[in-house]
């Protein structure tokens, strides 16, 4: 109630055109509230003391989650943003606070996640003097942010925050950093929150050129071997419904990237599963033999295309992306369309000829038959064991208990690829993973951010023994905020993916990939006040998973899996998609 009254006071002051005079810290917090922020993830320090003082005075109007390391705070904000579609907000102090945040910021930049990161800076007069906890934060983060600011005048602060949120969330989303010197947060100025931003050089458009969209639709209606190759852009633009309609009406095969998992229902008959280095055989064959690739919200990442000179040699390419620099960057598009995935697909649907459905189904019958042949030739398979838990078996069991509806976050590596292969996500914003940067330690804090956004949903951090150790300190955060997060450690005692590459490409010479000393993850969980469970044999697994998922509070499940299992199929680095090793 107090919160509502205070907001009203500010609004009334606005109405009378007598802006309230506030100190910078309060201007910052009020601006965040104006942007609809309810939760921020952060870690205090000297340069942000005024801001933390303001948070204290706000009596919970802004919910602050205290991480145990700044990297954790940024990953949490990213998990929160990916799961909700809102802008994630993090707050860190100057110097080491900001440098610790850099990995998280770079991760969000590569995966186009909208974040606003507030960092403290030393007072203006001390900038450039090698002051205590000083770092050139805007310089350090310039290459890994969509934009960044150093606020040198308190009168700019509200406008900068407004712009930061607009830039982070519009166009191709990304992280924006706002560096605020301590003395700016202490100064006072009238608070006026701008209604609009003025950015003459920044005009992100949504709709594609009509001429190009028409050409694209014509081509799609003629193609005999088309494939829809879809990615994170579909999720960012909330375009899943449109994609589903397009695929169903035109009988189009759909293959998602790692970042696109869930943007199209994985169990749908039109879904081919993921493509790329560890994609399905039939998805990669379909892409390779295709005569028309409709690339939607994707960027032709090297892990997707394999060797570029062997990529889809006979395909014409329609490339739809909101970022003009992504279009034709790696693979030349014959029909480039700059626009967001949702709007462009909606334009396409509006242009579809009346009888497109029936004609497509018959025209593509042979193509679907071919795809079915590939699917039967090399289905995803592994040899199960009654002695040792196979990682794929673990994921199938997890799927059985969660039915594809859980939010699951992963790090990078084998566990991430197996999950992508064996866990068919039903919907968008359920798979939270580190795609572009490939950050170990991302999964657990990202899952925590999502769990904080959705306290009542089943959120799982599915991580490896290596990655978990990089951000395991956030167990304290998870327990402190009484979350129900479940952590499954797929423990093979190895840096599994690196081991796999050493096995295949370095004659099995394992160089420093064996975790010769691991902590007891059950005791570690208990030390943090969480519940720890362990499964070492296949017959224990279903019981441990069921118990773990059903136990309230934070649960760490240490699942000892086969040490030397490898992820297949696999396209070796530098090979073409057709040159898959099936395992």
């Amino acid at each position: 109630m107090a919160a509502i009254l205070e907001n009203k006071a500010v609004d009334d002051a606005d109405a009378r055109k007598i802006p309230m005079v506030m100190r910078g810290a309060q201007i910052l917090c009020e601006s965040l509230l104006r942007e609809g922020v309810d939760t921020i993830f952060g870690y205090p320090g000297g340069a942000v003391l005024h801001i933390y003082d303001e948070l204290h005075r706000m009596c919970g109007r802004l919910h602050h989650v205290l991480s145990r390391h700044e990297q954790g705070a940024i990953h949490m904000a990213e998990g929160y943003a990916k799961a909700t579609g809102k802008v994630g907000v993090a707050l860190v102090t100057s110097g080491p606070g900001a440098t610790n945040a850099v990995t998280g910021i770079a991760n969000a930049f590569m995966d186009s996640t909208p974040l606003v990161v507030i960092s403290g800076q030393v007072p203006r007069k001390m900038i450039g003097t090698d002051a205590f906890q000083e770092a050139d934060t805007v310089g350090i983060t310039r290459p890994c942010t969509k934009y960044n600011y150093l606020v040198k005048d308190i009168r700019d602060l509200a406008e900068v925050i407004k712009e930061a949120f607009y830039i982070a969330s519009s166009g191709r989303p990304g992280p924006v950093l706002v560096d605020i010197p301590k003395d700016v947060t202490a100064e006072t100025a009238p608070f006026v929150y701008p209604d609009r931003v003025s950015l003459p050089g920044y005009r992100p458009g949504l709709r594609g050129s009509l001429k190009q969209v028409k050409r694209a639709v014509e081509r799609i209606c003629q193609a005999r071997r088309p494939v829809l190759y879809v990615g994170g852009g579909v999720i960012h633009s909330n375009g899943s419904d449109e994609l589903l309609e397009l695929a169903e009406r035109l009988s189009l095969p759909v293959t998602p990237t790692l970042m696109g998992l869930g943007c199209f229902p994985s169990g749908h008959p039109r879904s081919l599963g993921m493509l790329g280095m560890h994609g399905t055989y039939w998805a990669n064959m379909a892409i390779s033999d295709s005569d028309l690739i409709i690339a939607l919200g994707v960027r032709f990442d090297d892990r997707v295309t394999g060797a570029l000179d062997k990529f889809a040699p006979n395909a014409e390419i329609i490339h739809i992306d909101i970022d003009p620099t992504s279009v034709s960057k790696n693979v030349r598009a014959q029909i480039p369309i700059v626009g967001d995935a949702k709007s462009v697909v909606r334009q396409m649907l509006d242009l579809l000829p009346e009888r497109a459905c029936e004609t497509s189904e018959s025209r593509l019958a042979d193509w679907w038959e071919q795809i079915q042949t590939w699917r039967e030739y090399a289905p995803l398979a592994y040899k199960n064991s009654d002695q040792v838990i196979m990682p794929q078996y673990l994921i199938e069991e997890l799927y059985g208990l969660t039915k594809g509806d859980a939010i699951i976050a992963t790090d990078v590596g084998q566990h991430q690829m197996w999950l992508a292969q064996y866990y068919p996500f039903n919907g968008p914003r359920q798979s939270l993973t580190s795609g572009g940067l490939g950050t170990m330690g991302f999964g657990f804090p990202a899952a925590l951010g999502a769990q904080i956004a959705f306290p009542n949903r089943q959120v799982i951090a599915f991580v490896g023994d290596g990655g978990f150790q990089m951000t395991a300190q956030e167990l304290a955060t998870a327990v402190q905020y009484k979350t129900n997060i479940k952590i499954i450690v797929m423990n093979n005692n190895y840096l599994g993916m690196v081991r796999q590459w050493q096995e295949i490409f370095y004659d099995g010479a394992y160089s420093h990939v064996n975790m010769e000393w691991l902590p007891d993850f059950v005791k570690l969980a208990e030390a943090y006040g969480a519940v720890g469970l362990r499964a070492t044999r296949p017959d224990q697994l279903p019981g441990v998973l069921r118990r773990g998922l059903a136990t309230p509070g934070v649960v760490v499940m240490d699942i000892l899996v086969s040490e030397e299992a490898s992820v297949y199929p696999m396209v070796p680095a530098g090979a073409g998609l057709k040159e898959m090793v099936l395992g």
């Binding site: 805007v138 310089g139 310039r142 290459p143 969509k146 934009y147 150093l150 830039i167 950015l199 003459p200 050089g201 920044y202 005009r203 458009g205 709709r207 594609g208 050129s209 009509l210 001429k211 190009q212 970022d323 003009p324 620099t325 279009v327 034709s328 960057k329 480039p336 700059v338």
Partner: protein
């Protein structure tokens, strides 16, 4: 191939380093760079010369366009335009034939002699990159002590103005509408 890029950018601190960073992060070289404010002091014009194949230049231009504070980035090489740069060239030339040679070369290139001492001359040369480079080549045998070049500035020809705008608009339509 050399390309001259003309960039309009909001005149704010940090923007120059952001643009230069784009080049260094991708391993592209900058041959020359000039920056100064335009009629509107809130906006700066950068003229940047770089080398690369068409695809590289297209990617660079789009990366520049993508920058939040960049209002316009155009590859001038596609249009009729005028390029100029200035060089100050310190040539060793004692009184006598050597000095006469420098003065006459300067005359041919319509360069100005701006300073003379007992053993040297400073010549101010203006022209496009090729012309200034040609003069430098001719002066080299006489003993150049130091050269300072401004880097290229470029402006589209009046007759090309409208045509250029049309092309830019067409590209915009293709890319962003």
């Amino acid at each position: 191939m050399r390309h001259t890029l003309s960039i309009l950018v909001e005149n704010r601190f940090g923007e120059l380093s952001r643009i230069v960073g784009l080049f260094s992060a991708r391993g592209y070289n900058i041959e020359s760079l000039t920056v100064a404010e335009t009629l509107d002091p809130k906006i700066s014009r950068m003229t940047l010369v770089t080398a690369g194949n068409d695809q590289t230049i297209e990617q660079i231009t789009r990366q520049l366009e993508k920058q939040i504070r960049v209002i316009e980035a155009v590859d001038m090489t596609g249009f009729l335009h005028i390029e100029r740069e200035m060089a100050l060239i310190n040539v060793s030339a004692e009184a006598g034939p050597a000095r006469q040679e420098v003065v006459s070369l300067a005359g041919i290139f319509r360069a100005k002699v701006v300073d003379v001492s007992s053993d040297g001359i400073i010549v101010e040369a203006t022209g496009d990159w090729a012309k200034v480079s040609a003069l430098i080549e001719l002066l080299k045998p006489l003993g150049i002590r130091e050269i300072v070049r401004t880097g290229t500035v470029a402006i589209t020809r009046l007759s090309e103005r409208n045509a250029a705008q049309d092309v830019v608009q067409e590209i915009d339509e293709e890319m962003t509408v």
